[in-house]
Symmetry: D2
Subunit: 393 residues, 4 copies
């Protein structure tokens, strides 16, 4: 039974439409809803709503759900509506009237908000760890190719001398900064919505700070309406951070696709990384790199989707916001997968030292020649013009 059902039956088609894929997204949230519910029960005990023995029973049963879920034995179905309903129904089945008490001083609204923030905090930590591994892979690539020079480009034209480690180091430093961004995002969202109920609080004296501290939230969201209004917004911030990561992965892939063309020839992709063609027997196609390039647009589209959904909604919860769950969860999955695959690619590719060196043609040193004159006292712009004449066809 749905938490809100009171007799009249919802049209079947409407029911299917309103639930949509929500139950699939909610599978990710089961664990976090249980964790938050345990903290909520402990707080209800602290303020005298539940007895100690009741909290123990609830805690045991909620931990049992977490365990079931990890084994894939708490699968949501469309008729369950969402994780919160299924969990409350499960508790009521197991614990009778006690299950009917757990919803005291909360609403599905703040449950969703809490579960999403706890889930995201965990996933952001995973992203930071993965990103650190990618930095390692880039540093190892540089170490494997110490002293390998290659041309540096601007405007896709040879510009000045560069090297594998300069190229690789650019991404390593960038990802290092991105980790700081992920930390900021994590802190930013780490505020407790527990107890804000449907955006207007609950008419009971509760101890929101206690619940927050149990869940290791940095602070509580003071204004209950703000808790609701933050929906969609924090998701957009998280997605932006993921867009930021995949922008770099897009650039890495773009570079590698170019460097591994026969024409450039700087990079070799091992056979384990390439696929073939159904018609051309000689082809070795860099599909993984192409998909890594493309996934950036996929992640961006999740960001746009969330922003678009949240646009022009009045204050307070609106059902539209339910749709932001899917792009959030898909965003995490896609970004994590992209980092994992990029780590693999970076670990397996090799640079062709010979081709790289051969490409170090003399125009790359034009600026150095200018500076030889500068060191002799020629003003920079004059030196530039003197050397420039050598390169007029």
């Amino acid at each position: 039974m749905k938490l809100w059902e009171k007799g009249t039956k919802l049209d079947k088609e409407i029911e299917k439409f309103t639930i949509g894929n929500d139950y699939l997204a909610d599978q990710e949230l089961v664990e976090y809803d249980c964790i938050a519910s345990i903290a909520h029960a402990k707080m209800l005990f602290k303020i005298g709503i539940l007895k100690k023995s009741e909290v123990k029973k609830l805690e045991k049963e909620l931990n049992a759900i977490i365990a079931l879920n990890k084994k894939g034995k708490f699968a949501l179905k469309q008729e369950d509506e969402d994780a919160h309903t299924k969990i409350e129904n499960h508790l009521t089945l197991k614990l009778g009237a006690l299950g009917e008490k757990i919803h005291t001083a909360r609403s599905r609204n703040d449950q969703v908000l809490a579960a999403l923030r706890l889930y995201s905090r965990d996933k952001l930590l995973d992203l930071r760890k993965k990103t650190a591994l990618l930095i390692d892979a880039l540093k190892k690539l540089a170490a494997r190719n110490k002293n390998v020079k290659m041309p540096g480009y601007t405007h896709m034209r040879k510009a000045m001398p560069s090297s594998v480690s300069l190229w690789s180091g650019a991404f390593a430093e960038s990802f290092g900064n991105t980790i700081k961004m992920l930390e900021f995002v994590s802190d930013f969202i780490n505020q407790s919505p527990m107890g804000t109920a449907a955006g207007y609080g609950a008419p009971l004296e509760i101890d929101r700070k206690f619940t927050a501290s149990l869940l290791k939230f940095g602070k509580i969201i003071e204004n209950p309406l703000y808790a609701q209004n933050s929906r969609g917004k924090i998701e957009s911030l998280i997605l932006f951070a993921m867009s930021y990561i995949t922008m770099d992965i897009n650039k890495l892939a773009t570079d590698l696709l170019l460097f591994s063309t026969e024409e450039f020839g700087y990079v070799k992709l091992p056979d384990k990384l390439v696929t073939g063609s159904s018609i051309m027997p000689h082809k070795k196609n860099p599909d993984a790199l192409e998909l890594l390039r493309a996934k950036s647009a996929v992640v961006d589209s999740y960001l746009f989707q969330i922003i678009g959904i949240a646009k022009s909604l009045p204050s307070g919860y609106n059902r539209d916001l339910q749709l932001t769950k899917e792009p959030l969860i898909n965003g995490f999955k896609t970004t994590e997968e992209c980092i994992t695959v990029m780590i693999l690619v970076i670990s397996k590719i090799s640079f062709d030292r010979e081709r790289c060196e051969k490409a170090m043609t003399k125009e790359l040193y034009a600026t150095e020649e200018v500076y030889k004159l500068v060191k002799k006292g020629v003003p920079f712009r004059e030196a530039y013009r003197i050397i420039g004449k050598k390169f007029v066809d």
Copy 2:
């Protein structure tokens, strides 16, 4: 076995990443790939590559696949890679060497292009039919509420007299035009890519016009590279048309959400269309309308995703384009569902004649008063100023 495999094994993680959800999207294309393959086989007979008996066997087996697929018994798995591979493997299993001949004079590239165009042509026809049903529903709503006047708004402020049929008719006329757009899109994409192979043709004299006519394509794409370069582009056109439809659905939902507030009170939503709250026992929430409003942003994000994926790719097939399948197919599903649910909503809602009439306050008639003066010969702007004075607080 993959169509292109020649010994070396692809890294498992890379394999999983490159296949992704493609096999799920491809389920939609099985039927269309079979249809196109039958036409291709007939053409191969016409030019002397296959014997009549061979074509018969292939046609029979391909039709068997279509039948299996309709019963849900040709489900693609990740290890099948894609529909084309599974079908060719199935044919080879059933027909031996004959199955190995079907790929003559084609590539998976033009197979995908053909299947996508045939699939889209079908789905666009469905959308036209559904849209026509929505127009019907809107007309019936007007008929049910003949002579019900209601305020017309500009800037969300009462402007001039309107009516349920004026309001409803605005959407009916808009959807009527949209049907014309869908027809255009259908014609635009109805060009045969069959025989363009991997974008550079096949070194065989084939009869592309014959294949095209069997498949009822309006013409053939002349330039094989253009066939490849059209990938992502025609998908964006289709998605734009779906964005156009869902923009109207977004406006319909926005209006109905406003009109059905207690404060406006013009529209009543029957209980079958509303859901409840887990904390507030009195709530009747218009979730379906909110989701209809929000889905427009979802469809838009598919459009942006496709455009983003296709951006800055060089000519010829690039694997990035494979990712445009999912937003295309999801776009069709979402749009169809939105129209279906909107038809249901429009059929079930009622207008509150009393509340509508009560809202017909005198300022709505200010412009009529101006025109009474105009008819007596007062210049419009002067009449406007005379009546305007009545409304200064």
Copy 3:
């Protein structure tokens, strides 16, 4: 004075904010508003509101404004608010009470709608002409490079033999189809909003079909509220068509940037098309091509902007829609400029026949070898495997 002023003064900051850049965008619409006003005046005569002599005076003065505007002597300033206000004020200044009559049976709302549709119809025709010139340039490029073979690519890897004319022809065919899309868009928007006033008609018997025929509109918009609701939507359609054009320009530029690298070397950019670096005296940078590649994202952002602005607005005019003017007009300017510059680029570049031929290495012919076996009766997939073995490292 503003058309709607009745005594109270608007806050200065609010006035500046609400007018924004609108007066700049409106400069483009002056001519079209005058043309529509002349038709409107003729209709007012037909239904007996204006005398013949009055229409003549109005027509003369409106033509005078068009002439002034062409000479740059009807420049809108921020205090003019918009084109419609300035024109009506100008007429009243010149013709007294007669100027105050022209607004009979219309609103600024339908004036804007009409001017925008007339303007867009004209600009779409310009785009069609320009696109046809670009097709010419592409065909001439093919003719200049008859018989120049070059590698065809898939996945950015050499695939099969191609040629300059195959490559160039792919774009020519694509732009040919795009011209058909532009024609459709032109027809789609060519419906008369004149007489729909503020979305609820005017309380006067007017002859909307007569006005429409004078302005060569294909038909009238029947439902006045639909006329208003179409705002933002037709702009999005137009922008989509421009996005479609610039997607191809993006691909053309992407190809040429790759082909003109030293490493590929197929294309030479003459000095007239390249710029230099402030620090590297040897550089010849393809800035124009890079900007042509990038402008596609600019045009797309106009499309997103329009869709975003129009999202979740209730029926009837909302001031938000005024902001769709700027991206529409900038879209036309950007797209026209891109086509113009691309024509110039295509006319000036040359292909390096020697480098192209040198690049025709043997793996490009692998598929041909497969087909030699196929012609001897070997099933395609078997022939593919035989030839494939030659290309295992």
Copy 4:
């Protein structure tokens, strides 16, 4: 003369196209380029390239340019190409060969990067200050309306009791968090690119940390290629923060547009904030609020534009990135203006206490009734069902 000119003339049309509106955007950067150039000159002295007297002359002349620019007397024209060229040319005109020395150990690339970061740091500080003022205005609004209750909504339906200060406080808390985000963004971008030249350093021993400390950068960007690759990315981060601000402004405007309808009637907009209609003499239109609602989509489109432009570019500077300047600068202008106008609106509006109170109907207290039962020991879900029955029609 352009910094890179060496004889050949660029095609006029190409020149116009490549410069575009860049010279207009660059006006904003003149001051910051001068500031950075002074620091650069001091560093060149420190490492022995310039004499003390030379630095003094350069500093004096650069300060003179800043002063001229503040008076509007250093206006860039299209033929100036950009700020950096005009400044170097100006210095050379005034100081002869000394002007030709200032470009030593730098490139326009790192000049642009530095100027953009310094400019953005300043503008972000402005945004923080403005946002703080908006918080003040919201708090004053709450204070002016102490104890004014109003309905709280979910799903656009009355939910539970709320108040003006709860509503207003939700935005105040949100903007408070946004200020923290702006601080983060400011710190994130506050890294010195000075001395990274064109992305591959300069062949001179320079003291990058010294320059950075003079400009109060928090640290230097270590990897010169990363400095280049950060272009477009940091702009996207800044734009995201602005999107975050305008999302809240969009919601504030959406609420106020609803609350100020006659039907809701909670909010009164003074005449100074409303405009009229050209046809309906009674209208009082909330144009400013509508535009505030819409501008959010405009700012979002700048974000998408920047992300779109930067997508799929290989490492190192590409001219595409020049186009990110305009959306960045327009983003700052639009966001600042929105905050300013919203402060004005919030300061001028009033809540209608009577209408608010009248709207406090009994269903808003349904949840309180549930809790009365809960306090008596009835399990929550049971109490919910008991009270729920009262609200079945």
